[in-house]
């Protein structure tokens, strides 16, 4: 079948001057806005829509579409991919206005007869075309200490065992592939680039509720006040966007409750 694909093209931008895409859908992201911390993240990336026409099968993935465009029509088209199987998390983009993995979305999933729009993730600085700079996102990840911090006060003589029930407590948050679909779907991030974002909360949950971990309090400190869990407005965009079906809003709720319990 013949399909029409509209891709948001953004010329390559140098590190410091990189800016986000989003002017066409939200006026408040426009260049005149003052970035909160002096980071140039809320100004709008220059860009334009480029329309392509091509043949595709209904069962083609959007990633196949992008690769066909790049190899057959326009070698300058830039996007990121690696595994092609929904597990590396590198090809999250905005497809028809929704954050999804290009490799997990089929042409037939998008409704027939309509042009397919592809945009870079909103709220992260664009490097070029569909590639965004993940550094602010990964900085939030690092802030919640995403690794096991076990009790080292005594030297362990056996493995740190965990029962299936204890594992079940945080099973759902082990599935995150750091694709950024959640964090960049969040309207709080769009207006406030310093927001910690749902992905960091998912990964904090992964260790906070791990029976072998002892650093919940430090992670709570990273998630408390101004830019942490309390800024979540339970919009549910993240839950809807997650390609791994993690119930993110529920996860954030569990963190809030644990933080209140700890404060009391």
């Amino acid at each position: 079948m013949e399909i029409t694909v509209k891709v948001r093209r953004v010329p390559e931008q140098e590190g410091a001057s990189r800016s986000v895409v989003g002017a066409e859908s939200s006026g408040e992201m426009a260049g005149a806005a003052q970035p909160r911390t002096g980071k140039a993240r809320t100004s709008t990336a220059p860009g334009y829509w480029q329309t392509y026409h091509m043949e595709a099968k209904p069962t083609d993935r959007i990633l196949d579409v992008l690769m066909a465009l790049k190899s057959e029509q326009d070698g300058t088209l830039t996007f990121r991919r690696s595994c092609g199987h929904g597990i590396c998390g590198s090809d999250a983009i905005r497809i028809n206005g929704k954050n999804r993995l290009a490799c997990k979305t089929l042409v037939k999933d998008l409704g027939p007869g309509r042009a397919i729009t592809l945009e870079p993730l909103k709220g992260l600085p664009v490097v070029k075309d569909l590639v965004v700079d993940m550094e602010p996102f990964l900085a939030a990840y690092r802030s919640v200490l995403p690794y096991l911090i076990a009790d080292t006060s005594t030297t362990p003589t056996t493995e740190r065992l965990q029962s299936p029930q204890e594992h079940a407590r945080f099973e759902k948050t082990t599935k995150c592939i750091l694709c950024a679909a959640c964090t960049t779907s969040c309207p709080v991030l769009w207006t406030n680039p310093d927001y910690t974002g749902p992905m960091a909360m998912v990964n904090a949950h992964r260790f906070v509720f791990d029976s072998r971990d002892v650093a919940a309090e430090e992670r709570f400190a990273a998630l408390s006040d101004g830019e942490g869990v309390w800024r979540c407005r339970t919009t549910f965009n993240c839950t809807e966007a997650c390609p791994r079906d993690i119930p993110i809003t529920e996860v954030i709720g569990e963190l809030k409750r644990a933080m209140i319990a700890q404060a009391l």
């Binding site: 200490l145 080292t152 002892v214 430090e218 400190a221 408390s224 006040d225 800024r231």
Partner: protein, 143 residues
Amino acid sequence: MIPRRDPAKRAVVVPQRAELTSWVIMRVTGALLIVLVGGHLAINLMTGHGVHSVDFAFVSGKWASPFWQVWDLLLLLAGLGHGANGMRTVINDYVRGDRARLTWKLVMGVVVAILVALGSLVIFTHDPCPHGAPADLLPSFCG
């Protein structure tokens, strides 16, 4: 590279509680408002002749009792507190620039303070039997 911190040398962290407190206050005042507003509507609109019985005499009669004075004061405080805190989060989310945010929050704070002062003044200094008013407009206990 991500510097891996030695768990033994972890800093002692004191989490900040302001936003946590504000979040809890929102839930508490929210639940309180359901009771207070529900009770207020039930008494004012569903008893007697409904909304038609609400007049000066009705309100004066209610405020003659400390129970309704306290009820209405709580309603005033919970409503304004809940609303102002909500507006504060909206300002934090959507107003750009620290100066502008501070200004808007100050304006809101002043407005809320005036409303609380006026509201409590009315509740506690209300005269149910103003001198010289026609008796049929006054509550029955004004002799």
